[in-house]
């Protein structure tokens, strides 16, 4: 199976191609069968490789397959090489498994949609691109996948593009991503400049060696590795929705809910975290860059959590929750606990996808609306959805035994216990830890708010909507249940080693060791303290939300809204960051674009180049037209003029191209060609001393002359035709030493 790695991304691409080409003509059943089989088969190949082939070579770096040489030009050689090691293997399993579940869910959710085939084609295309991203063992290959998922995100967010708002959301996502991608490119350029390679194992070997151009100070006293890591992180911030490039994710909720579940919860947004974990060795040599990653992650986690307090759309709450949880993951990889970050990625994929699919189920039941102010009491009407949501809710809040508890605890404990930062940056770790604790409190609060407002109490919907509330069909509920099971039990894979002093019980971290290093060793008391604090925070958040929203909007909620109306409005308007960007960035660019459009397009191109050219042609055409009016006399006149021209050409004497002047001392010899043609007798006159009087003349174009002194002279030969009296002359300068 070693050489079948390429099947993993290829199968979804094949599915996408089939559906793009033939999807319109296929029956619905066949369409989702092709798509689901493609991703399912990919899962089987990945699982087979991961469980049966990988253990043998895990220590040596995993299964590596060089497909072909993409570019070989000058110093740069880039091969298309895929590598399945423990890290990318885990990612592949997550992508294909959750992808398959969402394909099944979409069969039910999108069953009424006219563009069924297009949707599944895009889903497959996305999965293929994401798999290329994680399997790529060379930065350009990863970048191809990186761009591919950005494209598919745009296509899927704007899936219902007939609504302008959806198309705008797609554009916003793509453009914001692009800004980040520019950072990624700069990082790639810097790394190539420093090490001459873009192959990931070679880059990491350079980083681990601790020497070379990577650690030389490059700019502002910081080493090149710092700048490369920073720029790569900017790319990650764009893809994974961190400050300041998170603004596209809430808008992306305009896309179909399965898209939100797959792309904006489980897979695409985690690409940034994966990239930082993959390039861990690079980050390990620049604590400053790690500090920035951790601080940005923590700040984002808290900021997004606060915004989540006041959102009234189901999916928007989940969107900000995703941004916040991604912040947690970046803290994990930022403090050096790469395993913890990936573990949270893993558990988050399950419970967030579950939450989003529940959102889809609820919105399906509420006739397409996601307004939580009009929901309530759905616990009774949607038992299965409620059950799944209940499990995923407890998971994300960090309630023990459920998966989120273990992964979040791992990150927070690592933040407090990391040794990655030394003297100057020692303040970073505790700061980040405290911010994360606050964010965890916020997470518990806003998710519980969501739960209480939607599922408990009395329904606040109108009669018409209430009548239509119904549980979702089996193909939508089944994946929900699978995800709930994963969310509930997945945490048991990662029991912290420090808890029971049995590190080998931590299966997940143990698996990841060959790629990201061992689990961070933490003090037993620190671990216990963290667990207790986590439980207290989770419980506190839930309790606080219950006080405000248990069973519907309660008095404390109304009182708060009444006392601080402007603050509540500010938070609900997401701190008006979009408006700020619009003012600072988008407005100037729009003016610039409009100005350029007017200047270049209207004036330069339309007027000067197009009309101008036509005008010039017209002027010459008018002049030429006068010759051909059909007036015979005019034609005769042209005839006569032509005759005169021919006459002139006939009588002018032929002159050779060049006077071949040979200089010997003061003696000059001129030889200018073959002489008169037989039909004409020409006279040649030579003027050697620039006095205007001919010094030599004869019937042949040869002459010689001796100069008196040194200097530069101009020799002029005149050819005369005695019959007609016409003449022509030729000059040449010669210098005498």
């Amino acid at each position: 199976m070693l050489f079948n790695l390429w099947l993993i991304p290829f199968l979804p691409f094949l599915g996408a191609a089939t559906l793009i080409l033939f999807g319109q003509a296929m029956r619905r059943d066949w369409v989702h069968l092709v798509a689901t089989l493609a991703i399912g088969a990919s899962f089987l190949v990945a699982a087979d490789a991961f469980f049966f082939n990988l253990p043998a070579v895990a220590e040596a770096g995993g299964l590596r397959d060089v497909l072909w040489t993409w570019m070989a030009s000058g110093d740069l050689t880039v091969e298309v090489v895929l590598r399945l090691d423990v890290l990318s293997g885990v990612m592949c399993l997550v992508i294909t498994f959750i992808g398959a579940l969402i394909h099944i869910y979409s069969a039910g959710y999108m069953s009424h949609d006219a563009d069924y085939a297009r949707f599944f084609a895009y889903l497959n295309l996305f999965c293929g691109s994401m798999l290329v991203l994680v399997l790529g063992d060379s930065l350009p290959v990863m970048f191809v996948g990186w761009e591919g998922v950005g494209l598919c995100s745009y296509l899927l967010i704007g899936f219902w593009y007939s609504e302008t708002a959806n198309a705008d959301a797609g554009k916003k996502a793509f453009i914001t991503n692009r800004v980040g991608d520019f950072g990624f490119l700069l990082g790639m350029f810097l790394l190539f400049y420093a090490t001459g390679t873009l192959d990931i194992p070679e880059l990491l070997a350079h980083a681990r060696s601790g020497a070379g151009a990577l650690v030389e100070p490059f700019w502002l006293g910081m080493p090149l590795a710092f700048w490369a890591a920073l720029f790569l992180f900017i790319g990650a911030a764009g893809k994974s929705a961190q400050i300041p490039l998170y603004v596209w994710l809430p808008d992306a909720m305009a896309g179909p809910t399965p898209v939100s579940a797959l792309i904006h919860a489980a897979t695409m947004v985690t690409a940034g975290v994966y990239m930082v974990a993959r390039m861990g060795a690079l980050y390990a040599i620049t604590p400053a860059a790690m500090a920035i990653v951790a601080l940005v992650g923590a700040a984002t986690a808290l900021f997004a959590a606060i915004i989540g307090f006041a959102q009234n759309d189901f999916k928007k709450v989940l969107a900000y929750s995703t941004v916040s949880q991604l912040g947690f993951m970046f803290v994990g990889v930022g403090v050096g606990a790469y395993g913890a970050g990936i573990f949270h990625l893993f558990t988050h994929a399950f419970f967030k996808a579950g939450l989003f699919l529940c959102a889809g189920s609820v919105m399906h039941a509420m006739s397409g609306s996601g307004d939580i102010t009009k929901m309530g009491g759905l616990r009774r009407k949607l038992p299965w959805t409620h059950g799944v949501f209940w499990v995923c809710w407890l998971a994300i809040c960090g309630v023990p035994i459920f998966s989120g508890f273990f992964s979040k605890d791992a990150i927070v404990a690592s933040a407090f216990g990391t040794h990655a930062f030394s003297e100057g940056l020692a303040w970073v770790a505790p700061t980040v830890g405290v911010l994360l604790l606050l964010a965890a409190l916020g997470t518990a609060f806003y998710m519980s708010r969501l739960y209480f407002l939607v599922f408990t109490g009395e329904s606040r919907a109108d009669e018409h909507t209430k009548a239509h509330i119904h549980e979702s069909p089996i193909e939508m509920v089944a994946p929900l249940v699978v995800l709930a099971v994963g969310a509930a039990l997945g945490g048991l894979l990662g029991i912290p080693g420090a808890l029971f002093n049995h590190p080998e019980w931590n299966l997940f971290f143990h698996w990841l060791e060959p790629a990201v290093g061992p689990e961070m060793h933490l003090d037993h008391t620190l671990e216990l303290a963290m667990i207790v604090i986590s439980i207290v925070i989770a419980g506190g958040g839930i309790l606080l939300a219950y006080v405000f929203y248990g069973g519907g909007y309660r008095t404390p909620a109304h009182n708060f809204a009444r006392s601080f109306p402007r603050f509540v409005a500010l938070v609900r308007d997401k701190f008006r960051v979009d408006e700020l960007y619009g003012f600072l960035i988008i407005r100037p660019i729009r003016y610039l674009a409009q100005g350029l459009f007017f200047l270049v397009d209207r004036i330069l191109i339309d007027r000067i180049l197009v009309h101008g050219v036509a005008l010039v042609v017209d002027v010459f055409a008018r002049m030429a037209r006068t010759l051909q009016v059909g007036d015979v006399q005019r034609h005769l006149a042209v005839f006569g003029i032509g005759l005169l021209v021919l006459f002139y050409l006939a009588i002018k004497p032929p002159v050779p191209d060049d006077l071949n002047v040979t200089v010997e001392g003061v003696h000059v010899q001129v030889d200018a060609g073959e002489g008169s043609p037989i039909s004409r007798q020409l006279i040649y006159e030579f003027d050697f001393d620039e006095d205007g009087l001919p010094d030599k003349h004869g019937n042949t174009p040869q002459a010689s002359f001796s100069y008196e002194g040194r200097g530069t002279y101009r020799i002029k030969m005149t050819v005369l035709d005695p019959r007609w009296g016409s003449s022509r002359s030729l000059e040449k300068t010669v210098s005498i030493q």
């Binding site: 009016v629 059909g630 007036d631 015979v632 006399q633 005769l636 006149a637 006569g640």
Partner: protein, 99 residues
């Protein structure tokens, strides 16, 4: 008589004929100009024949006269046809092309 005077006369007549052909609007005047040009050529032939003592020039002059007569007949026939279709002998108006 110096030959060059005859040649100059011939040239002047030719130029007057050419001017008439190119510049006059009336088709009859154009035909007259053509006759003038032919006669100017004739004069040049005869002048050179006399000065070179070669009678070939005189023979040529006969040819030219005959030719001129034939050509005048044909030209007038065309002119009559033109008048029949266009009702005018004004060359400016006789053109089918606009402006």
């Amino acid at each position: 008589m110096p030959t060059h005077l005859y040649i100059m006369l011939s040239l002047v007549l030719f130029l007057i004929g050419a001017g008439g052909v190119l510049l006059r609007r009336n088709a009859l005047i154009v035909l007259m100009g053509i006759e003038l040009m032919l006669n100017a050529g004739n004069l040049a032939f005869l002048a050179f024949a006399r000065s070179l003592g070669d009678e070939k020039g005189q023979v040529f002059a006969f040819f030219v006269i005959a030719l001129a007569a034939a050509e005048a007949a044909v030209g007038l026939a065309i002119l009559v046809g033109l008048f029949r279709t266009r009702q005018t002998v004004n060359l400016d108006e006789a053109s089918l092309m606009r402006r």
